[in-house]
Subunit: 152 residues, 2 copies
């Protein structure tokens, strides 16, 4: 096992640990906004409104899951559905002011957490780390794990 393999093993291990920890702790702080809800709201803000189908495709979620998430967010008053003039089936989703507010709060609080955790890092390392994550996620392309090589 050469040095590159050791590094890959470490990356594997640490990213797995991160994912597990995120899963375990994501819901406990900000109970009003789960990790998925948060990313959904964030996407709506980024793109400025889209359809439920777009969310499902973008996040590789089942449309039923998105439907329920959106229902919950609407019930909470964070998103609103607007009819589409061209197509009566689609409902364009938009953030409400309350949704923008909550999203901003949660983002700010999480940013603080990340900033604390990254305090003391040289700017050069921050930039490289960010670059590596971008590059890695781009390569991951929406799927975290591939199927087993030979067993299927």
């Amino acid at each position: 096992m050469n040095a590159a393999d050791v590094s890959i093993e470490t990356i594997h291990h640490e990213l797995t640990a991160f994912a597990r920890r995120a899963r375990a702790s994501a819901g406990r702080l900000h109970p009003e906004l789960s990790l998925v809800s948060y990313t959904l709201l964030g996407h709506l803000e980024d793109v400025g409104g889209c359809r439920a189908t777009d969310l499902a495709a973008h996040y590789a979620l089942d449309k039923s899951t998105v439907s329920r998430q959106v229902s919950a967010l609407e019930r909470a008053g964070l998103v609103e559905r607007r009819a589409d003039a061209q197509d009566q089936r689609v409902q364009v989703l938009h953030l409400t002011p309350a949704g923008k507010e909550i999203l901003a709060q949660v983002t700010a609080s999480r940013r603080v957490a990340f900033r604390e955790r990254l305090a003391g890092w040289p700017e050069e390392d921050l930039e490289r780390f960010a670059g590596y994550l971008l590059r890695y996620n781009a390569a991951a392309g929406g799927v975290m794990f591939r199927a087993a090589p030979a067993s299927d």
Copy 2:
């Protein structure tokens, strides 16, 4: 917003994306071994057997959750419980040969996935990336998000 803040924002965004993606896709490949089961088995292999309470403490899970996970793993024949001579309450958990086998398979297949995704990276970048993740996770110290700064 200076360059460091931009980097931190990117790290925040990309790690969040990774966590969400992991959550969404972890269960679909290797349905026989969820992300949690996998890390539990991995820990048992690393430390060579421990108590359910140790697992709960190490992964910040409720003991009931661990109890059920362990029960499932035992039912699947991947771990076995051994009585402790000193304390009749504790059951020391060990991987069975089948557990070692499955763990090795899943690890291998995931390693392949990571290796593919990291193919073409210069060895220097791999080492730095691994180092950054280690450093970040060490700073995270078991909790992914801190409470909101002022709202509570």
